[in-house]
Symmetry: C2
Subunit: 358 residues, 2 copies
């Protein structure tokens, strides 16, 4: 008994010390002093003493009682991908300010892992979900929807399910990028993408195809397997480029494909953009810093994050009934950021007269 380590302060201790009831303390702490007509004097004393001893309510007990954990589960494809990392970070910051905590997990786009993570989060009683859905998880998402857990998808959505989602107009992005290359005079434009058939990847492909078809040009699409082995991916892209020497420009459908692509191009000792113009979907530090800087189809990360968290918090705040019918489906525009990698070089290049492009 006396060997016990110093215990945490409890709401009981507060009440005892102040000689008020524990309910009074609880009410004051939860900002319900006014509506319970607790005297300002008492409320102040409570607040002061709580502050003094640094009392923190036990979250577990609170959550058990209220059924709310104030935790949001964030399920992304790969938290080490700068796109997801940035969005996650922005979401976390905003959620934090409004009293919510985020717990993340990466699915690696694996449906099994996605399902496990969703059910893990359910077990942990998250109040809401933010999900970048991999394919084949309709059932799990249905379940959380049925349980009325507020949920927002982003980056892609599940066409069969009525959910909130925030996506980007990838088709418009690649369409504009392709047009830009055409305007620059490139004619043999290839598109390197993954073998995924998810909504966002298909959209990116379609935008490219449409732009070419409008000019009666034939698409040239390379699909690489979504492998983890970087050497293999690089070699694959390298072979593709070698086999298509006529190709004078490439659009990569994701940031990591571009990185492998740049490596492949460098190994082939091709010059960008003289031998091959390059555009990447999704911006990245490296693309700004690369020599030459790489033109990108940038996604509006701040806006994505803001929309996601705003919609989720709105639903979280609701009195927990209907909210079903009115799902938000938001499609945000991309922005083409033109850098050196997609600008046609005039044949004779006076190296000293380089235009200073900030």
């Amino acid at each position: 008994m006396s060997s016990k380590v110093k215990k945490r302060t409890l709401i009981n201790d507060i009440a005892n010390h102040l000689e008020v009831s524990i309910a009074t303390v609880s009410l004051v702490l939860n900002g319900k002093a006014k509506q319970s007509r607790i005297s300002d004097a008492v409320a102040e004393r409570v607040l002061k003493y709580v502050q003094e001893v640094g009392y923190k309510p036990n979250h577990l007990a609170k959550s058990l009682r209220t059924g709310k954990t104030h935790v949001i589960g964030l399920v992304v494809e790969d938290i080490s991908n700068p796109f997801f990392a940035t969005v996650a970070w922005l979401i976390e910051k905003q959620a934090f300010e409004r009293g919510y905590r985020i717990i993340y997990c990466s699915t690696d786009n694996d449906p099994t892992k996605s399902k496990e993570l969703i059910s893990m989060f359910r077990e942990r009683h998250v109040d809401g979900f933010i999900i970048v859905p991999s394919e084949g998880i309709e059932e799990e998402v249905s379940t959380i929807l049925r349980e009325q857990t507020p949920t927002v998808l982003f980056d892609r959505f599940l066409p069969k399910l009525p959910t909130n989602y925030i996506v980007v107009d990838g088709a418009q992005g690649t369409y504009t990028a392709t047009q830009h290359l055409l305007e620059q005079g490139f004619r043999n434009i290839a598109f390197v993408t993954t073998d995924s058939t998810q909504t966002q990847m298909e959209a990116r492909l379609n935008g490219y195809v449409r732009a070419l078809e409008e000019q009666q040009l034939l698409p040239l699409v390379k699909r690489v397997a979504a492998s983890k082995d970087s050497e293999h991916l690089i070699a694959d892209i390298q072979d593709f480029i070698k086999d298509n020497r006529a190709c004078d420009a490439i659009i990569f459908s994701t940031n990591y494909l571009s990185i492998y692509g740049l490596e492949a191009i460098s190994r082939l000792q091709l010059r960008i953009p003289q031998d091959l113009a390059v555009i990447s979907y999704d911006d990245h530090d490296l693309f700004r810093l690369y020599t030459p800087a790489i033109t990108v189809i940038a996604q509006p990360v701040e806006s994505i994050a803001k929309n996601v968290i705003d919609i989720l918090l709105e639903q979280l705040q609701q009195p927990s009934d209907q909210a079903i019918a009115n799902n938000h489906s938001i499609v945000l525009p991309t922005a083409l950021i033109v850098r050196k990698s997609s600008i046609r070089q005039p044949e004779p290049v006076p190296a000293t007269r380089k235009k200073a492009a900030k």
Copy 2:
């Protein structure tokens, strides 16, 4: 009442359905059937039914009752840095297998943020801590130590505090790297590091200085501010290289400094290693893929992760009393992985007669 959404299954429902007591169910579920001499028949029925309805105990209630959350708080400097990301991922995997969950946070090396995160984790009742300590958080770490919460530091430690820690022999790493450059015939070797005075950064610097002093050579150290502005860092390094044209080799003390350094070198149109040899502390995908591949002082990430989690789980499993005196302090060796960037090029280069380095 009848308008209620379908409720989750509770332990009560199980007990009712099976017409046994709730205690029996609980005991069976916690593997204490044998020691409570519950009949195998009953135990089996319970397990079978639980399986059937997919009953999952409520973690919150369980934790509130037992005082254990089976959650470990992981506080790193920057989860988007591949070194920390990899270690975190390995730790998470092993912890998961043994029934623990990890929640992460990045401190950005900011003491205030570190303190907030630690206290947030305390509030969330994590069972243990894994911390990459920023400077000035001795007090908070003391607190969790006093509360007997199992804790392991890694990457660096707090010299004033008796804790478990796993670090790497950075001094040996940079010493060996410097020697390697000297053996290759480089004489003007610079060291680019941050302005941090943390244990691991000082060690890296010291190894470099010692190797040079043994040869009566003068160190050339550039300290860049730990800023977040990449352009600024690149320009800073660029200026440093320009101002020290005699310098023929550089060791960078962290992976991100190397990345900025490579960009600086590329902008100066210097060739690696002909004009400037390069070694980075810490390996990275990019360094393997870069042309030329970059020599690195690699940290044993698997071993770090394994040691961290083993020690923490050992302490977590202990009967929660002493365990104080016997702290583990483990220092792991680094490995120099020699690639092209630090190999002196013979003036006329017979490219085919390259020595196979490992």
